[in-house]
């Protein structure tokens, strides 16, 4: 069942189309990756989902009903890319204040803050001020503030930036835990290796439009280039086959690209007939990083912000 459905969302600014007809849906309990280069319209999209902006056109269906910013806000936790905390406010008070703004009562908020502070070993921070914290520490605090009120939908914009590997893992585990307990997570980042690791489903936006939508496995399949890696016992002097081209050769390891109309078995057959022992054989799936660069590179993503809106 889909927790969130976006239907033909549009948001135009005076000088650009920030979001231009984007639709997708996010399943309940999934970890969803929203990808895109800088200025692709991700932040605008997220701001519409969090109710900060109203879309110019289109609908947001949240939890089966039309999204109502006023009442649904408590079901959403949003951690923006630009972290923001009151520098001079004590951490405990800050968490309490922001939780109450979400709509929790004071006692409820207190209880949950204590739970999370204990869980992430932040108890001794209560009376410290944000300006005394390191970047990683304030990041952790921001995460706690985002998930404190147990939202159904958690939106994390670059949650790992500034975290050391230890804390990044801690947060990653928490994200998995939240998803297991039924929360849906939207994860926005440029770090493709994290997306591959964490996300079930991704959408890639560029120039305000959706360019890619699917599960990580599906997308990799879609973009595979029929490349295989072969480990041989020895390299034959000449390799000529109508079934494939050799595109890389390192010691006894070959990378080959299979031509259209042939299968992987044709490659194996060639080497077997040639009398060379095949020690390992595997398909090379493109990394999301490659797919991302491939899709985005040729567009004029960088110059987009100066582009005029066609009347």
């Amino acid at each position: 069942m889909a927790l969130l459905e976006l239907e033909h969302l549009k948001k135009y600014y005076a000088t650009q189309k920030a979001v231009d007809d984007i639709s997708f849906s996010i399943a309940q309990g999934s970890i969803f990756g929203l990808l895109g280069p800088n200025g692709a319209g991700k932040t605008t999209l997220l701001r519409m989902i969090t109710g900060i902006f109203f879309p110019d056109e289109g609908n947001i269906i949240f939890d089966g009903k039309k999204f109502d910013a006023l009442n649904d806000i408590i079901k959403i936790g949003y951690m923006p890319e630009e972290r923001g905390l009151y520098k001079k406010m004590k951490i405990g008070d800050q968490a309490l204040y922001l939780a109450q703004l979400k709509g929790l009562s004071k006692n409820e908020a207190m209880e949950k803050i204590k739970f999370w502070f204990k869980r992430l070993e932040m108890e001794s921070w209560w009376n410290k001020k944000v300006e005394d914290l390191s970047k990683g520490m304030s990041q952790k605090l921001q995460f706690v503030i985002t998930v404190l009120h147990e939202p159904k939908l958690i939106i994390l914009d670059e949650p790992f930036s500034g975290l050391d590997p230890l804390n990044a893992n801690l947060i990653k585990d928490e994200i998995y835990g939240l998803a297991q307990r039924g929360a849906t997570i939207i994860f926005s980042t440029h770090r493709m290796e994290q997306v591959e690791e964490i996300c079930d489903h991704i959408v890639l936006v560029n120039l305000g439009r959706k360019v890619l939508d699917g599960t990580v496995q599906q997308i990799k399949q879609d973009f595979k280039e029929n490349k295989f890696s072969i480990q041989l016992s020895g390299i034959p002097a000449t390799i000529t086959s109508k079934a494939f081209d050799v595109i890389d050769m390192k010691a006894t390891k070959l990378t080959v690209k299979i031509k259209d109309g042939f299968k992987s078995n044709d490659v194996l057959k060639y080497f077997i007939e040639d009398g060379v022992n095949v020690e390992a054989f595997s398909e090379i799936l493109p990394s999301l990083n490659d797919i991302f660069i491939n899709l985005v590179e040729d567009t004029n993503a960088k110059t987009r912000s100066f582009q005029k809106v066609e009347p």
Binding site: R47, T50, G51, I52, F54, L70, I73, I76, Y78, M79, P80, E82, R83, G84, L85, Y86, K87, K88, M89, Y97, L98, Q100, L101, K102, G103, Q142, I145
Partner: protein, 442 residues
């Protein structure tokens, strides 16, 4: 709890709990008063008693010269200048006055005081006063005029002013009204600037630290703005109440600590406002017209309207300041230039006010007291003169209605600018763009 109230509570508490708040609210007035008290204390006690030897050979003073805290006169017989000088040199006396036997009281500049050391300014004035007073009596006597005759001739005949519809229009009332009008107008002017700027800085802080985005995902930007405005307004109210209590408390305390003030103050060039007030109250019983003047000012009405115009003016301007704060990026220089269009009408209002206190019925004063951007300052100056004359009821109600409409208007407009501006980073925003945000349909 209501979200506006939540935001307001945080704004209020974080400001009130700051050390600087305690410092400016409580310590500052105490320090200023303490400073004045010290100045006054020293000026009062510094005049150590100077003994003056008087050799009155012409018997002008008849052996009568009043002594005071600063000077003691001793009449000596059969002294020469030389012998007096010796006594001054031996520090027996601080100075001497030698009056030759042929001196006539009606001849001026005949009295010379020779002192061992320089005599202080206050003591000097005192000596002058005492001698002149005595000389005057002696002179009158020599012209066969009694003091009573002179006094009755000198009696002032004050012209009493009243308007044709019978209301008393005494000078005293006019003066008191003017002072009250000025005071109230300036107070509102100061409030608008101090707390308006505080709202602006608060908004800038939220924008620059990027917390605005976290918060507007929980509350509407309008709620955040209104919470901030109400919270800071409450800080202002509390601060003012504390100041008023402190000022009154200290004003009444000071004369108790230094009872000899009242006399001293008349010759003091530095007169702190609090002392003037103390003086005024001291004189009040002696001067019935002043008391009348005070009584004719309708204090309850003025305080009531002051609170109304304080709140109205604050709400009107603070939302504009919030809008400016939301448009500013990291650079505080931008704030300066964006603030100008807001500060102009406030300064304009002060200019109109200075005219309105003198002539509350003039055209510019009436306009200023109706126009919502200037009315909080100008109307206070006019109201002090009285309702319904010179401020008719229709003008008063129109002014109040316009102010309410005005602040609803600015708040509505500012909220739209604020909503866009607070999430807009990196780009310098111009007035033209803000104007566009304010009037586009959402």
């Amino acid at each position: 709890m209501n979200k506006i109230a939540l935001v307001a509570r945080r704004e209020f508490l974080t400001r009130v709990q700051k050390k600087t708040f305690l410092l400016t609210t409580i310590l500052l007035p105490v320090i200023i008063f303490g400073f004045y008290a010290l100045i006054i204390y020293f000026s009062v006690s510094s005049g150590s008693n100077t003994k003056i030897a008087v050799a009155d050979n012409a018997n002008i003073f008849n052996g009568k010269l009043e002594n005071s805290d600063e000077v003691t006169f001793s009449f000596l017989q059969n002294e020469t200048k030389a012998s007096l000088e010796k006594k001054v040199n031996s520090k027996e006396y601080g100075g001497y006055i030698y009056i030759p036997a042929d001196t006539k009281p009606l001849i001026n500049d005949s009295i010379k005081l020779v002192s061992g050391e320089k005599i202080g300014l206050i003591a000097r004035g005192k000596i002058q006063d005492i001698i002149n007073k005595q000389l005057e009596q002696v002179r009158l006597l020599s012209l066969h005029i009694t003091k009573q005759q002179l006094d009755s001739a000198r009696n002032d005949n004050s012209v009493s002013f009243s308007t044709i519809n019978g209301s008393n229009d005494s000078d005293m009332k006019e003066g008191v009204s003017m002072a009250v009008g000025y005071g109230a107008g300036f107070l509102i002017y100061i409030i608008l600037f101090i707390y308006g700027a505080m709202v602006m800085r608060g908004v800038m802080e939220e924008k620059v630290s990027r917390i605005a985005e976290v918060i507007v995902s929980s509350v509407k930007p309008f709620q955040l703005m209104m919470g901030k405005i109400t919270g800071i307004g409450a800080v202002g109210l509390v601060q003012f109440i504390i100041w008023i209590v402190l000022v009154f408390g200290l004003t009444f305390l000071l004369p108790l600590i230094f009872p000899s003030f009242a006399h001293q103050m008349q010759s003091q060039p530095i007169q702190p406002a609090g002392m003037q007030a103390a003086e005024a109250f001291k004189n009040a019983s002696a001067d019935p017209t002043f008391m009348q003047g005070l009584a004719q000012v309708n204090w309850l009405m003025i305080i009531g309207f002051f609170i109304f115009y304080f709140l109205g003016g604050y709400l009107l301007y603070s939302s504009l300041f919030a809008a400016v704060g939301s448009a500013v990026n990291e650079d505080p220089q931008d704030a300066q230039s964006l603030m100008l269009p807001i500060t102009m009408p406030i300064i304009f209002a002060i200019v109109i006010m200075t005219k309105a206190v003198n002539d509350p019925s003039s055209g510019i004063a009436v306009f200023g007291s109706l126009f919502p951007l200037t009315s909080p300052i100008v109307m206070m100056a006019r109201i002090a003169h009285g309702v319904p004359d010179p401020v008719p009821y229709w003008q008063l109600f129109l002014s109040m209605a316009l102010l309410i409409l005005g602040f609803l208007g600015t708040t509505w407009m500012a909220a739209k600018i604020y909503r866009t501006g607070i999430l807009m980073y990196g780009k310098k925003i111009t007035w033209k763009e803000m104007w566009k945000w304010a009037f586009r349909k959402s």
